[in-house]
């Protein structure tokens, strides 16, 4: 079995079989990262560049750790401290980096489609680590993987994604991944933060949090992305919290125990209260741990498609 693609640009471009292969490979890596020595030598001859044109803590650390656990050589780049601010184009930046014999690029970029664009112009395997409000494929993979781990399977499960759907790449990638794996998906949030025409993706829309929670098996709580909001989408944060914040009272009043997820970073007290985030129904920290295993699997499977050169 091998992946049907040479780049991971988005969940939209991969098949269900690809996702299952990534999950099965991640199972093995999860065992590896729980050993006394958490490193395997598979990617000794691979060099990976992490290009972050937008801030990130968790994703960047997770990718870097995954790369190092596979023994790849890693170089890091952050746009704030680079020549991008001097006016260099994306292709020039990346080609300069690739001329230093880099095999794979992990890129986060504020512009949607940056990864797709790059994959057409440079000769390296590209992994999208988030492009604007478009896709964040590895996050969606680790979310589905965490659901599979917690509930046994993703197929047939009901998942509600709550919050700022409009500005969220996590939401879009999650919708594609969950649907490909056979789950049904609803989105829930203020009408101003739900994108137009989202129902075309076969996604249910709910504007009442309680109704959404009554329906679902899993609630994925998203952060309100203040930094992407050019205008006011709701009156006050307090009002948002009252209507769409997940707290212990509403969780306990449900007649079932749902799984609570959050892709991070959490705004405690806004979209989720501290006692819910730290409760046993929450799998937030499992998601972070699975993130490393999933990224190892993606990197390993893509690297095995890079042909070995005898030089």
């Amino acid at each position: 079995m091998e992946l049907s693609v040479n780049h991971l640009l988005g969940i939209k471009y991969i098949t269900e079989a690809d996702i299952q292969l990534i999950f099965e490979t991640a199972d093995h890596f999860k065992e590896v990262i729980n050993r006394p020595i958490k490193k395997v030598p598979s990617l000794r001859d691979i060099t990976i560049a992490n290009l972050f044109f937008e801030n990130s803590t968790r994703t960047k650390l997770s990718f870097e750790l995954a790369e190092k656990r596979l023994s790849a050589d890693v170089i890091n780049f952050a746009s704030s401290s680079s020549s991008v601010t001097k006016g260099e184009t994306l292709i020039d930046t990346v080609n300069n980096i690739l001329s230093m014999k880099v095999d794979m690029v992990v890129m986060r970029h504020p512009n949607p489609g940056a990864g797709v664009f790059l994959s057409k112009h440079v000769d390296a395997s590209i992994i999208n680590a988030g492009d604007g409000a478009h896709e964040h494929p590895t996050q969606a993979l680790l979310d589905s993987y965490s659901i599979r781990e917690k509930l046994g399977d993703v197929a047939g499960k009901k998942v509600v994604i709550v919050g700022d759907i409009l500005h969220s790449r996590v939401a879009l990638s999650n919708i594609f991944a969950l649907q490909k794996l056979g789950a049904s998906v609803k989105v829930c949030g203020p009408k101003t933060l739900i994108p137009k025409h989202i129902e075309k993706l076969n996604v249910g829309i709910e504007t009442n949090l309680r109704n959404a929670l009554e329906w679902c098996d899993v609630a994925n709580m998203l952060r309100v992305q203040n930094e992407r909001m050019d205008i006011s989408y709701f009156p006050t944060t307090r009002e948002y919290t009252q209507q769409f914040g997940l707290n212990k009272a509403i969780l306990d009043s449900l007649n079932k125990e749902i799984v609570v997820m959050h892709p991070g970073p959490i705004n405690r007290g806004v979209e989720i209260t501290s006692d819910v985030a730290d409760s046993k129904q929450s799998i937030i920290l499992e998601q972070v741990q699975n993130g490393v295993a999933i990224r190892m699997a993606v990197i390993y499977l893509l690297a095995s498609k890079i042909k070995h050169h005898e030089d």
Binding site: M1, H28, V32, P36, V40, S42, A303, S304, K307
Partner: protein, 189 residues
């Protein structure tokens, strides 16, 4: 020893060991292990994935039922991520399950694999083992030892049968639980 050539098939195969001969070899290997490792209190068996696991399971069952040795620790080790031919073969390398739920530190480890050929798998297994701690010593048990084919200075400590096979030939070990019969074949292309 039974020798059968099947000329009708494009691929001819010759029986190297039949079920009875495998059984005799397994009993001898079990006895040799007992000679060295006594009650196995400081010894663990590690089956190399994927094909060494069948042999390891057989030996464990034999030691427990025929020779009344209790509490034998058996683990499986997958070497995929430690192989030196990543990206050099046409097919991607597929991993198997590693299951070692005991401590190997200061234990006598016996690697168990069905065929010893180039020695590269065992080289990978030795590297993989380091991720689990520092064993006192590591030995190698193999059912079939293909002579004159080693790429590395690795030799078995216990062997079922030594075989001379040229490079184009393959040695195929079949187990009842997986392949329907106990037999070892030499397959010629």
């Amino acid at each position: 020893m039974l020798s059968e050539y099947n000329s009708e098939l494009p691929m001819s195969q010759k029986v190297l060991l039949n079920a009875t001969e495998i059984n005799i070899a397994l009993n001898r290997l079990a006895c040799q292990l007992i000679e060295k490792h006594d009650d196995f209190s400081k010894t663990v068996l590690i089956g190399i994935q994927p094909r060494g696991v069948f042999l390891a399971e057989r030996l464990k069952t034999l030691l427990e039922t025929e020779y009344k040795i209790k509490n034998i620790k058996l683990g499986y080790l997958d070497i995929t991520f430690y192989r030196d031919d990543f990206r050099r073969s046409e097919k991607p390398l597929e991993a198997n399950k590693t299951k070692i739920d005991f401590i190997v530190e200061d234990k006598n480890v016996v690697f168990i694999d069905d065929v010893l050929f180039t020695g590269r798998s065992i080289r990978s297994a030795l590297t993989a083992m380091q991720s689990f701690g520092r064993p006192l010593e590591i030995e190698l048990l193999t059912l079939i030892d293909r002579r004159f084919s080693r790429h590395l200075p690795i030799q078995p400590d216990y062997r079922g049968r030594q075989v001379d096979a040229i490079n184009g030939e393959k040695v195929k070990v079949c187990w009842k639980e997986n392949d329907g019969e106990d037999a070892v074949y030499l397959v010629k292309n």
